[in-house]
């Protein structure tokens, strides 16, 4: 597999470090003898390229990584980071009724007006008709809302699995035991 374009990473880390006025170096990937067999580090979480823009309603499901909450009248939205939004009818807070899960790849934030949900789908702002939450429909898409996540784990120091664009869109970085990590950020 083609390794991550290391020159770009050097540049990015260099910029990062120049901005922080600290001295940084990045590990030289060419020296295979220094790649550990295994390390506690970070790895990219991918979204398959062919499904990155596919938004649709699905049956209610378990929360994977809840990071946000929005209410609109009796509707309750719970953001599942990077995956989608859980919709509830919260007329009775003692008994919220799960209405649907809307897949919105790359989601980090949302807001709503009656009948409409506005959210980020990776870097795009998408307008979604939720008059019927069980049949959500994308009605508009505007590019350029958010920049994409950096292709290295920002703020992290240590070994990480190199990001490989061929494997899909980058959702986020997660801690993991990585095997033969060829990328590393040093301070």
């Amino acid at each position: 597999m083609e390794p991550y374009p290391r020159r770009l990473l050097h540049v990015l880390v260099g910029l990062l470090c120049a901005g922080a006025l600290t001295s940084c170096s990045i590990w030289d990937a060419g020296r295979a003898d220094e790649v550990p067999a295994e390390a506690l580090g970070m790895r990219p979480v991918y979204f398959a390229p062919d499904s990155a823009n596919v938004i649709f309603s699905d049956a209610p499901r378990a929360l994977q990584n809840g990071t946000g909450v929005v209410t609109l009248d009796d509707l309750l939205f719970v953001i599942d980071q990077g995956l989608g939004v859980h919709l509830f009818d919260n007329r009775a807070p003692s008994q919220p009724v799960a209405l649907a899960f809307i897949h919105i790849p790359g989601i980090a934030t949302l807001t709503a007006t009656p009948g409409r949900l506005y959210a980020n789908n990776f870097g795009d702002l998408v307008t979604i008709d939720i008059e019927d939450p069980r049949n959500a429909r994308v009605i508009d898409r505007d590019a350029g809302l958010f920049r994409q996540p950096l292709d290295f784990p920002e703020g992290f120091i240590g070994f990480f699995e190199c990001y490989d664009p061929a494997r899909g869109r980058l959702i986020r970085w997660e801690e993991a035991t990585v095997t033969r990590p060829e990328c590393r950020i040093n301070f």
Partner: protein, 265 residues
């Protein structure tokens, strides 16, 4: 339906008072009589009146949504570095970044106009924390949290702080006080009650009747709390794997109303 009744009533009152000037005010209630979304403090996207306000890492982006099916970008305003959250109150926007809190007023054309800044370096030194912010008309509250990070000298340090700021003058927010709070995350304010999420350590309920001396009422554990909305006596808490709601009519004794572990995987 109740909103339409209110709208009709309001319309009737304006019609009776022929001299009422109801065209200049920008408040969200003026332009948006429909129910408005309430967002947790970590949000990057807000709908206010006929506009959407989004923050990316460096700027506020304004979209006109007078046609709700076709947002149109109308403004992009530079804020600073590492912007993370946005909060709205009465036509003012509070932007949280790792550097500080930035205050804006929404102008008549919907564009945000810069008012003031509170630089977190005043209370944190050089460490750059994460930083959601909430506010009422006089006081803003931000949680600053870094986890365990190395500072520029390589020393490990953790910052876990609630910062209380006087925002009566939006052009020059001032420090009121700080309070140590364990692993603070999102927060929500309702009157004199401030709810601060503590991640795996639950959440803390703080009495802020006197902002100079915030008083911890109690801490609730047994849940993971990342962000919350407190309104009309109901607290909605979202954690990594769960959604928990409480009745806080009696702030000294919260009643758990529901807990969704989303058991159906």
């Amino acid at each position: 339906m109740k909103y339409f009744n209110t709208l009709l009533l309001a319309g009737g009152l304006f019609a009776l008072g022929a001299c009422s000037d109801d065209t200049n005010g920008f408040g969200s209630t003026d332009l948006n009589p429909l129910p408005a979304a309430i967002s947790g403090s970590y949000t990057r996207l807000l709908s206010v009146g006929g506009f959407l306000y989004a923050v990316d890492n460096t700027s506020i982006i304004t979209y006109d949504i007078s046609n709700k099916d076709n947002p149109v970008e109308v403004n992009r305003t530079d804020v600073g570095l590492a912007v993370e959250t946005i909060f709205h109150l009465d036509g003012n926007l509070f932007v949280g970044s790792r550097q500080g809190m930035f205050t804006y007023t929404i102008a008549d054309d919907g564009h945000p106009e810069r008012r003031g800044t509170f630089d977190y370096a005043r209370v944190t030194g050089m460490v750059e924390p994460c930083d959601p912010v909430v506010a009422n008309s006089t006081t803003a509250y931000a949680t600053l949290y870094t986890g365990d990070v190395a500072d520029r000298c390589g020393r490990s340090q953790t910052l876990e702080m609630l910062v209380v700021m006087d925002i009566r003058n939006l052009d020059a927010p001032e420090l009121i006080t700080t309070l140590n709070v364990r692993s603070p995350r999102g927060l929500s304010l309702d009157g004199d009650l401030l709810f601060v999420c503590n991640d795996v350590n639950g959440f803390t309920l703080i009495n802020v009747e006197d902002p100079t001396t915030p008083r911890v009422i109690t801490t609730y554990t047994g849940l993971t709390a990342w962000d919350a909305i407190a309104k009309d006596g109901i607290l909605i808490v979202v954690g990594t794997k769960e959604l928990v709601q409480y009745d806080y009519s009696d702030p000294t004794r919260l009643i758990e109303l529901s807990r969704l572990p989303y058991s159906r995987v």
